[in-house]
Amino acid sequence: MLALISLNAKSGLNFNTMFQNLPIPFLILSFLTILSSLYVVTSKNPVHSVLALIFTFFTISAHYVLLNAQFLAVVNLIVYAGAIMVLFLFVLMLLNLSKETEPVKSNWWGIAAAITAGSMLLIITAAFQVTGEAVAKNPVEGIGLVKALGKVLFTRFVVPFELTGILFLAAMVGSVLLGKREKNNAVLIPKEEGGNS
């Protein structure tokens, strides 16, 4: 712990000057991201935390736009906010989990979780202290556009892309099989009961 603190002091991490020169959009977006993700974790009502998660994904998409990764911003909106979040809401409302049925945990559990997450934060921050200066800044215009990304995806990353297709096929077949087997069981059980009686 002392080594970490002395590392901080040596590299001159000063929280007063850290936020001064940042542009306003970045500050507002980061603030909103952290706030809404905290609400995801702490909210009692699962539906509220799903909505907060959607908002977090929107702010992360805005971060992608700030980083000039336009393709990823659009894909993030479509995949996460469009498909996955609707799926979460659907499951929550279908299974009627939206009531506050969560068993109450003791305070110790929360304290232990906070200590674990906090020490994780400290260690990753300390480990990345040197990285920021080591990264070479190499501005390339239009790297996140669909054209550039598609070129890379279909030349150097063709094999992983096709493997992903196979994986999607396997998942589709698996989910169809699982759904069908459930139906067969539902049909079989009443028949056996009928034969027994």
Binding site: L22, V41, L53, A113, G132, N138, P139, I143, A148, V152
Partner: protein, 84 residues
């Protein structure tokens, strides 16, 4: 906001701090909550922190490979949750 102004004003260490905080919040949620769906959502949060860091490094170093990685991660996540 053009690319160069971002390079001059936001260091990559700020993105590192932001995504580290997001990752830790997700980790706290995984450890703290007991509802299965909220657990999945916290894992989503951690994955998004990693995606943000990948994209930041990819933009700052001028290399498109990081964004391809993010694309694959998104595909796998959608696969996972849809088969759930």
């Amino acid at each position: 906001m053009s690319l160069l102004s971002i390079f001059n004003q936001v260091e990559i260490s700020h993105y590192i701090y932001l995504s580290t905080v997001l990752f830790s919040i997700g980790l706290f949620g995984v450890l703290f909550r007991r509802n299965a769906i909220i657990l999945l959502m916290c894992i989503e949060l951690m994955l998004n922190a990693v995606n943000l860091l990948f994209t930041a490094f990819s933009t700052y170093m001028g290399d498109a490979d990081g964004q391809i990685f993010v694309f694959f991660i998104m595909e796998e996540v959608s696969l996972d949750l849809n088969s759930d």
